[in-house]
Symmetry: C2
Subunit: 261 residues, 2 copies
């Protein structure tokens, strides 16, 4: 049986405030076995852009990334947020290594073409290849990769890339090497029957249950791409996908466990 690897994806909100960041890092450090962290940083990027007089434009939850915005996200995701996490994990005794997809060429992407509707996302990349073997060598040497939501195209361009997608693609690539558990952290207890009531968390969500809840409109909006991404990773061999609050990552019994059946 393959060794266990836990991949945690955590959004900007958690890693951008010192209080929640240090709680997260302690919880992450407490997870047994091999692990990898993928982080966001969108709020800080929007904040820095604002201070620089650069307008933030989002379309369907994705950031339009022109030259100036690419510099902002490269600074915030690859520098500020990533290095703060790395230094924090080192202080907890973890051999953290901050990486973007460009570092050691671990994740390549393709610049998103202008959409049929004429939307040009700019320097936004869709993941085309994760080097799971290279990542596994790094992880097997005792290192904990801390991955920022940036990739590259192999031709010298950094590309702004969705952190959920990167976590999913990384989990799929590493499923050949480990028993991968993938935890998507967000601001609620899990997938909820009533989005305003944390006590209505769905403990276990399989494919047919998901389809039924989607048809009834109980699951809608931003949860749909998140869950589609989760189910896709299961198809690719990820053993366990959990959606929950960042505060729950050290407690395997919380949140919504996603499974095919």
């Amino acid at each position: 049986m393959a060794e266990r690897l836990t991949i945690i994806k955590v959004g900007g909100k958690i890693v951008e405030s010192s209080d929640t960041l240090y709680r997260l890092l302690a919880d992450f450090a407490a997870i047994e076995g091999k692990k990898l962290l993928v982080h966001g940083g969108g709020r800080s990027a929007t904040q820095l852009a604002g201070r620089l007089g650069i307008e933030t434009r989002m379309v369907d939850g994705r950031r339009i990334t022109d030259d100036a915005m690419l510099d902002v996200v490269t600074m915030v995701y690859g520098g500020l947020v990533n290095k703060r996490i790395v230094a924090g994990l080192q202080a907890l005794g973890l051999q953290a290594l901050g990486m973007t997809g460009a570092d050691m060429d671990i994740i390549r992407s393709v610049k998103r073409p202008v959409t049929a509707a004429g939307i040009d996302y700019g320097w936004v990349g869709d993941v085309s290849r994760v080097d799971g073997a290279a990542l596994a060598r790094i992880i097997d040497s005792g290192v904990v990769p801390v991955v920022a939501p940036l990739t590259h195209d192999g031709h010298g361009h950094i590309l702004n890339t969705n952190a959920d997608t990167m976590a999913g693609a990384t989990a799929c690539a590493l499923a050949r090497h480990y028993d991968v558990s993938l935890v998507f952290c967000f601001e609620k207890e899990g997938v909820l029957l009533d989005e305003n009531d944390d006590s209505t968390v769905i403990k276990h969500l399989d494919g047919s249950h998901y389809a039924a809840l989607k048809a009834k409109g109980v699951i809608s909006g931003g949860m749909i791409p998140k869950l589609d991404n989760a189910f896709a990773t299961l198809d690719a061999g990820v053993v366990r996908v959990v959606i929950t609050r960042a505060a729950n990552i050290a407690d395997g019994s919380r949140g919504t466990v996603i499974s095919r059946q």
Copy 2:
């Protein structure tokens, strides 16, 4: 005989303009054998700080680094400059890995105490330890480290650290593993007898020649800490130290070669 390793230290001016950056990366890629790059980024940091309304204060060429300035240098050095170099080197087929001292704990430093003259440099670190063995394992696996001038204290704090000093300390630590050549790039052809005339480059500078030129005032100012640093690395086992223009790094015959005797 140990394998050869070339360490190039290049300042902010070169890596901050696309024209000079891509020329540098091509020249760096052309260097045969194992290599490591240490870069600066001070001009971009000053520029970003200015756009954010943060005042840049320098004392003896070192940046006073309060909380706001630490965020600026972490973004610029660890994010913007470092990732641009990494993506550029990947496009040239080099297996580049961007690192700060916090990443894999390769370089620790100690926060500089308030000086006797009452100067508080803030989050500035003086290198206390380089993990040469860890760096050698990375280099031996075919990876080219690209090191940003940031370190950490092991207690979760990033520290702004002089790039020349980091390059020197890294060269010393790696001298146990390789025949290290260390090249400090700056804006002139080499150490000059007349600082305004590039044709007066001193081809070869040994310890007694240096002492004599210093006594006569021919070598003064910012060259003195640079050369003291260079001589110290020779004492620690570095084989060859060269001071020259970035444009010369692929041509071993240019610049000033420093030696003890």
